[in-house]
């Protein structure tokens, strides 16, 4: 991975190794393997939000809905066409991507502010939730259905581990691929354009940056990713319910994760997801009733006092040793641009 800038290759290798050995201490416990898979899935969702919100200031608050399109779309297409879910997943994700593309296109064309985009997508989120509950004959309504696609028992039997573990390692691969993609993206001409648009849209347009194109690209990419992750999210749960894709379940959590970890950082989404999932586990069964209240309080506190996030905070403590890859918007790029 020589083409990756700075120390990214080393960081990703360390992260990859950590994620690979993480299940070893809890091997055999389906519960903890599930927790780990859950952690990786939310880290991926936060990476996707980081592209569209972090890089291009388009706050998508229908992440749950897009993930739902991916999950339900894959299931319905598989049942309807009778082919493997591996073929229908890209189609369903493409549909989610097109929804994101349309929203970004309208928003960019009509010069929507970040607030308008958030309110528009929030409304779309509720429409999607409503459709998932209401279109009972297709989605099973609020009772849902058991999600048994992507049969991995063959792989599981060959390797001699359970299916949860196979799914977990698949998720880890996907997360690492997403992170590599993110690093490549922000160091390409797209990253430069994102920076320019974020700092001053008018100035960027005046020097020939096609603002609409870049925003729509980011919107499509993130929405497509949400769609893909959605199917695996349902697969991990083993059961699909409209409430699993609601605003309160997905969007609030992913937003907290991304802000806690640090906007526009490579490892922020992973660290944020780690912290949030760890808090969830520490609350355990005793305080599980207080989970919602605690996340509400957390949302208030991080937005009022801690908007820079963990990774930038750690980075400023150790500044000089690491390059821009952890940096926030204020920092100047120190690395040589990637080719």
């Amino acid at each position: 991975m020589n083409w990756l800038p700075g120390n990214s290759a080393r960081d990703l290798t360390v992260l990859g190794l950590l994620l690979v050995v993480a299940p070893l201490p809890v091997l055999g416990s389906t519960y903890y393997e599930g927790v780990l898979a859950h952690f990786v899935i939310f880290a991926m969702l936060a990476v996707a939000l980081n592209i569209v919100f972090g890089e291009t200031d388009q706050l998508f608050l229908f992440m749950g809905g897009l993930a739902g399109i991916g999950a339900y779309g894959t299931a319905l297409l598989t049942d309807w066409l009778g082919v493997t879910a591996w073929l229908t997943l890209p189609v369903a994700a493409l549909f989610a991507g097109l929804v994101g593309l349309s929203v970004s296109w309208i928003s960019a064309k009509r010069k929507f502010t970040v607030v308008l985009i958030s309110i528009l997508t929030l409304n779309l989120q509720f429409v999607i939730s409503e459709v998932l509950v209401g279109a009972r004959e297709y989605t099973g309504g609020s009772t849902g259905f058991s999600y048994q696609y992507f049969s991995m028992d063959a792989i599981a039997e060959t390797v001699g581990v359970n299916e949860t573990l196979v799914l977990y390692y698949l998720m880890v691969l996907l997360l690492l691929a997403l992170l590599v993609g993110y690093i490549a993206l922000v160091h390409s001409r797209y990253g430069v354009a994102f920076n320019a648009i974020r700092q001053d849209e008018l100035a960027a347009a005046s020097i020939g940056v096609d603002v609409v194109h870049y925003k729509v690209f980011a919107g499509f990419l993130s929405a497509f990713t949400f769609g893909v992750i959605g199917a695996f999210y349902a697969l991990e749960a083993g059961y699909v319910l409209p409430s699993a894709f609601s605003f309160q379940t997905v969007d609030v959590l992913v937003l907290i994760i991304l802000i806690v970890g640090g906007l526009r950082t490579t490892l922020g989404p992973v660290v944020g997801a780690g912290i949030i999932v760890a808090i969830e586990e520490m609350l355990g069964s005793t305080f599980t009733n207080w989970r919602t209240a605690i996340f509400g309080a957390l949302l208030i506190i991080i937005f009022l006092y801690f908007r820079s996030g963990v990774i930038p905070a750690v980075d400023s403590l150790r500044s000089g040793r690491f390059g821009r890859r952890f940096g926030g918007a204020e920092e100047e790029p120190e690395d040589e641009p990637a080719d």
């Binding site: 607030v115 929030l122 409304n123 989970r291 209240a293 509400g296």
Partner: protein, 286 residues
């Protein structure tokens, strides 16, 4: 063919729902117009008013006393929220303040919901026995009439306050031009506190009228907030008269859609209207 008196009964129920929506819309519009804070916790205050009131009724208090005390409790809570959380939000300016306001009030509503579910897990309504009235030979639900009457009086009071009193005029000055208001000696922060307390009280009243004949649970809070948001989008988020008109219009449309095509499509029509307005006229939120 649907009988005329059935249509009238549906229209009356629609008006009642519309008045409830108008109250929510007024609540969210007042605060946004004055200080750029989109109060996503507004529905939580409606639910709190219902919970306080039903708890007091269980303690043996009379209905009216309990309602007034419930509203007072919500007003005090609103005052506390304004003095603490919103003071922090008002420190920032422009678009950053709008975003910060959205996330802080969103966090607040999740916090209130998460806390209250632990203590009040069931569904609550007000024990108002209204029955069915005959209105020129047409049977309409009494609850709807009570909601329309109470709501219209409340909206009238808010408008009279803004039009007629000195503080009300000062409020409208801040609405129109904050710097101009400062120049003539109006303290915008004081006005904002007053209006926030007023808005959560109106939201509380909306919750109370809704609880006449319908069940309210903690989870209803966020649904109310979303309804308030739709009303303010359709009516223009800075326009009080717009909020009232949009509330009544959407209420009637929703009730007829409910009657003819079912509640699931009716809800989608509500959201669809908001999305169409947002895309066609994005300047409603600015």
């Amino acid at each position: 063919m649907v009988a005329i008196d059935t249509l009238i009964a549906v229209a009356v129920d629609g008006l009642a729902f519309g008045v409830f929506l108008a109250l929510l819309g007024v609540g969210i519009t007042l605060v946004y117009g004055l200080g750029d804070v989109l109060n996503l916790a507004i529905g939580a205050f409606s639910v709190l008013a219902v919970i306080f009131t039903t708890a007091l009724i269980e303690q043996g208090f009379g209905l009216v006393v309990a309602m007034v005390a419930g509203l007072l409790g919500v007003a005090l809570l609103g005052l506390a929220v304004d003095r603490t959380l919103l003071s922090l939000v008002y420190r920032s300016e422009g678009e950053e303040r709008i975003l910060l306001g959205i996330f802080t009030t969103l966090g607040l509503t999740i916090f209130i919901d998460g806390t209250m579910t632990n203590f009040y897990p069931s569904r609550y309504n007000l024990p108002v026995d209204t029955g069915v009235f005959s209105l020129g030979g047409v049977g309409v639900t009494g609850g709807s009439l009570v909601i329309i009457a109470v709501g219209l009086v409340a909206i009238g009071v808010v408008f009279a306050f803004l039009r007629g009193t000195f503080i009300g005029k000062a409020t409208r000055t801040v609405f129109q031009d904050e710097r101009g208001a400062r120049l003539v000696g109006v303290n915008p922060r004081g006005i904002r506190t007053l209006i926030f307390v007023l808005s959560v009280t109106v939201a509380g009243l909306a919750g109370l009228v809704f609880a006449i004949g319908s069940n309210v649970s903690v989870a209803s809070g966020f649904e109310f907030t979303v309804l308030a948001l739709i009303v303010s989008i359709v009516g223009g988020v800075r326009s009080l008269t717009g909020a009232v008109a949009a509330g009544v219009f959407l209420g009637v449309v929703n009730e007829f859609a409910n009657f003819f095509v079912g509640s699931y499509v009716a809800t989608i029509i509500l959201f669809g209207t908001a999305i169409v307005v947002l895309v066609a006229k994005p300047e409603v939120i600015s």
